[in-house]
Symmetry: C2
Subunit: 235 residues, 2 copies
């Protein structure tokens, strides 16, 4: 049995990818359960509350022995110190977690660009609203979020990679990669040299590079959070 | 100087209320800075990056000596153990944090009911979309979120108040109170006896009761996250 079991939808990067990247970078002993034979029923059973302890509201969740932990940022907060991707000091870790939760907020807004009315509806059923929401996301929210992260790098108040790489660095790589997939025209206009340099540094980490070129890395697609709908990329 | 400084918009409950409730329940030595004279400029200065350390993306944030911490759930994660509102054990705390982040997800969706297109627009500029989004929120999301929390109580997998009250209990009180303010018709139809009992137990805690009847407790209003727009309460 692997030390860590990750449970997430098997055909998309989605929120699970933030956890996958951490596990891969650390070369942790893990299995991506729902992508193994018989894994989906096991995930659904845990979602329905058949496991010990607290039932997850939604994937992703991580199992370590009898402990099941859900919520992406919470998984990373718990896992980070155990796999060398978070600071030991509690105050420093609170800063990393703050960044992670801000990344999560941006990811949630990305999802809303193509599903502004309901997750239960298809994109095709909310295209008009999606176009309106996306025009605001592209013109207001992308600059605000990325400007914030760029300013954090400029201020040096967070020494990304100063001491060592954290899960927030890996997640920022994923956020940038996803935004560039979904909104290539809008992203081409952003002036974020430090963020792009950070993304490149993450991509060049040996374990990350090996992962990205492996079949374990799913491609972005139009079932995930980051979707390439050119009509929403009003950049 | 107070031990804790809370920075949040001075005229709404909003996300800051989850922190206020924790500070009040613990009778912590804190000041609600933006509600004091000259407090707003101090908050805006910190938002613009004039403080030491990591700049917050948005309020609420908490200052303790030179440490500034943002993101509601992160503030509570950091603060909880210091004021007796979180378990000492890291695994147990991860469970509480998981619940807190799920509460935060629901709160974010509540905000989207009246702002499905853009935070930068008035409600009046997105009423049509808000009505459509809200009908799904009321019929699908309220039952899903509250059904989840109710099932957690039923399963006993989380001993709410079993050992002691945590910040997640206080936040669940706030979530329920807010939903009942914003969606009274829809909420009247929910079968959530354990959640209502939990809400009542929180409301009866002496420090919470004293707070709720004090002028420090702002009333719900239509500038906050929980807004009473009858046309969105399709219950």
């Amino acid at each position: 049995m692997s030390e860590y079991e990750l449970y997430y939808w098997p055909t998309i990067q989605g929120r699970g990818e933030f956890v996958r990247l951490a596990l891969e970078d650390a070369r942790a002993d893990y299995v991506d359960v729902a992508r193994t034979e018989g894994g989906m029923p096991r995930m659904m059973a845990l979602l329905q509350g058949t496991g010990d302890g607290l039932r997850p509201f939604a994937p992703p969740f991580l199992r370590h022995r009898s402990l099941v932990i859900a919520q992406t940022a919470n998984i990373l907060h718990w896992l980070g110190p155990r796999i060398g991707l978070a600071p030991d000091d509690a105050d420093d870790h609170a800063r990393i977690h703050q960044l992670q939760l801000t990344i999560a907020d941006c990811v949630a807004e990305v999802h809303e660009t193509h599903h502004p009315i309901a997750s239960s509806l298809y994109y095709e059923d909310q295209r008009v609203e999606a176009a309106r929401r996306s025009s605001h996301f592209v013109s207001e929210r992308i600059p605000k979020f990325l400007g914030y992260f760029e300013s954090v790098l400029e201020a040096g108040s967070r020494e990304w990679f100063g001491a060592s790489c954290t899960y927030a660095d890996l997640s920022l790589f994923q956020l940038l990669s996803g935004l560039e997939y979904a909104f290539p025209r809008a992203m081409a206009k952003q002036r974020i040299p430090k963020l792009r340099a950070l993304r490149d540094r993450v991509a060049q980490r040996p374990n990350v590079a090996a992962y990205l070129s492996s079949p374990r890395r799913l491609a972005f697609n139009e079932n995930g959070i980051f979707r390439r709908y050119p009509e929403l990329d009003a950049g």
